[in-house]
Amino acid sequence: MAQKHIIGQAESRWDAIAKVKGQANYTGDFPIKNLLHGKILHATIAHGYVTSYDISEAEKVPGVLKILLPEDLPQIKYSTAGHPWNLEPKKRDIEDRTMLTRHVRVYGDDIGAVIAKTPLAAKQALSKIKVTYDTYPVYLTPKQAMALDAKRIHEERDNVIASTAVGFGDVNQGLDEADFVLHRQLHTPVQLHAHLENQVATAFQSEDQRYTCISSTQIPHICRRIVAQANGLPWSLVRVKKPFIGGGFGNKQDVTIEPLAVAMSKAMGGKPVQINLTREESLAYTRTRHAIDYDVKLGVKKDGTITALDMQVLSNQGGYASHGHAIGGKGGTFINALYKMNSLNYGAKTVYTNIATAGAMRGYGMPQVIFALECVIDDAADKIGMDPIEFRLKNHQPDGFYNELSHTKQQDFRIGDCLKQGPEAFKWQAKVQQAKAFNQLQGPTRRGVGIAAFSFGTATYPFGLETSGARLILLPDGSFKLMVGATEIGQGADTALSQMAADTLGVPFESIIRDAITDTDTDPFDTGAYASRQTYIAGYAIRDAAEKMRKMIIQRAAATFDIRGEFMDIVDGNIVSVSDGDLITTVKDMAQASYFDWQTAKTMVAESSVNIHNNSYASGCTLAEVEVDLQTGKIKLLSLMNVHDSGKIINPLLAAGQVEGGMAMSAGYGLNEGLVYDELGRPMNNNLLDYKLPTTMDLPDLDEIFVETKDPLGPYGNKALGENPTCSPAPAIRNAVKNAVGVGIDTIPLTPESVYDALQAAKAPKGVS
């Protein structure tokens, strides 16, 4: 009997039926008796201090139960970043906020709160609270906040919260030795996660007098810790439950509203209180993707050798540190992972400003640095007259490269295969010829093709702790309950993890039962959904638990049938003889016996916990074809393909879905998306009408291919995939636009206005601007 492999199969996600039936409960869908509603009073200035509140009128609103000011809540400073706790105080995330504050650092800062019987009463009360401020100068950019006379946004530290440099070789010498030096300034926008479900949390005192918080979080275990820290509670007095979650993309890797929800419930004697952010609040007042400015010098020889790369980085942190420098500081390692060069200097500063706090967002700094890198790489190829694919093929790092900056050997690193197989699948050469023929017609539009490559780590080692636990319980009918702390947020983790368990156990996929809720009281510890880590890190934990469970089942069969264990295998739920495949017994029979056999009953539970000290680097590229309207600057995306080196693909259907969603997010990043502010730091487009999320009409059919191999380290030959797709589409689109119109634009999004302006500027005679 041949082993039926479940890894690599397009299994339907277990929760799809509930979701198409409208049966899946998200945080806001649970019926809670006598639920109260909490609303946050947001600052209407971007920088200053609240000198007084007048709540007298607000208190009179019928249904208002309590108005909370900063002084009413614990003044314990904490960090909202979803990172594992660090035992070394110096390595912890910057603890720079309290739940409510009089110190206003961003427009919309949380300066008060109302608890009422209805959401409407709470809103009415908010509108009646009068606030008086002292106002301070508003800094929108790192440069403004770094000016010598700039006021500190947080009294206790400089506006530059961190500054690092990594690299190797002598960059000045490298630039001297180059035949050409390209000097570019590139800018990326404030992108928003725009998950369809806004942040929502419900907190109440449970029967055991502890606090339960049901929350739409990517990181239940970390959320428990941060809720407890902010409220000054022992960690065990908080229980977090995460039901189905309507997208996160990193925004829910910050613990934003949960501490306040628990504080509100505490203030109401433990009654249930829900905070349910509006779309406008979620877009403007939670977290964003860091806007980053790059100043880049690249030295290149005529033969295509990169002699030097100097990249100076200013990362706009916004008002609070959140994930801080972990994002802006990350690029050097992955530039080195991708391309050979004689010297590299990656210098990064992360700077407080008065715009919305930037945090984790899908790709975690890589979409920014890959945009900057791949624009300049592409321009360098143009400069020396080399084909952009050939230039990348010449310079990419080989399989087996040892990355000194992260002390990681890049095993099974297949960027070369991506750069060869991608263009072929995309019909790059044919598209180049078609574009040339099209452009010769001299019509109102021009066509072009572009490429961009990327590298990406799997999980956070060696920078972050990587632990995960799993538990398998054999149920009486031979199915298994799989319990993990790894978090399903829509990406399909639960389904992929179940496939892993089934594959190692040797049972059908349907034999694995997951849970709609992750619960910090009962599920094993795992730090959660981020860094494209779960199939990798939780994968090891599941493999360990499944191997233990498999061994226990075989041991029982060995004892029952007096056959040595090594002569038996579990295949498709049957226990068979290894030598001839004959059926010996079934997992179901062994399960029954483990519960009910008079002499030997002993139920089976397998536990595991892992601490992983390795990282498998993934890579890939995007190919794009665009048509640009010369009169309006409008870009039409004609085709887009992503190529991924992500090791073994656990579930091709889910993997393709992940890739397509990431491509759409990055296409939006390149073409339309960006939160904008007026000079007072007020967000101007925090709604889904003015913040341009791609719709069905804005995207072409999306294609993807996988350069599939088996990673030697990954638990099932797999490595990162979740965030990877967001890294390279935006620069590939930018490079395609350059190919079409001959102008490389270094600031995204490439809105019609910006393209039009760039075209006009390029047309203007030299010396006139």
């Binding site: 409208g22 409407l120 309507g246 969603g661």
Partner: protein, 171 residues
């Protein structure tokens, strides 16, 4: 102030004394506990709250509850068959891998179902236009459009699977 309305909800005649300020979305979720209908923006931008009213896809967040009086409304809870068997469009969403976080899916499934009912045959371009009012951040829409195309292909292949029209008021 409350106002009593009568309407058909997922094929059943219902009565509700509803706060006149409430949206249809609020009434469905609060008064009828039909929480399959989701709120994504509350102002008619995202389509997560889509329901079918007399054969038209409508954002229930910007439709007053009292306007439901005399209408026939279908929510996501109402499109599977009474024995629980999935509607063809629901099955197609699963088969095509169109579901990720699932928050846009109730609205997307209803909008797709209505689109199929309104057109004997659909091109990909028509599907794109038909679903342009429903936002999704997870899928890039690729497999959602695939799902609608799949459901369309299946009904072309087997006319017996033609979906029944949504509940209409008996005249």
């Amino acid at each position: 102030m409350k106002h009593e309305i009568n309407f058909t909800l997922n094929g059943e005649a219902v009565t509700c004394a509803v706060d006149i300020r409430k949206s249809l979305l609020e009434m469905l979720r609060d008064d009828f506990e039909l929480t399959g209908t989701k709120e994504g923006c509350g102002v008619g931008e995202c389509g997560a709250c889509s329901v079918i009213i007399d054969g038209r896809t409508v954002d229930s967040c910007i439709y007053l509850a009292v306007w439901a009086d005399g209408k026939a409304i279908t929510t996501i809870e109402g499109i599977a068959q009474s024995d629980g068997q999935l509607a063809p469009i629901q099955a197609a969403f699963i088969e095509a891998g169109a579901v990720q976080c699932g928050f846009c899916i109730p609205g997307m499934v209803l909008a797709s179902d209505q689109l199929l009912k309104d057109h004997a045959q659909l091109s990909r371009a028509e599907i794109r236009r038909g679903l342009s009012g429903n936002m999704c951040r997870c899928t890039g829409y690729q497999k959602i459009i695939d799902a609608v195309q799949l459901a369309d292909a299946k009904r072309q292949a087997d006319p017996k699977t033609v979906v029944l029209p949504h509940f209409k008021i008996e005249q």
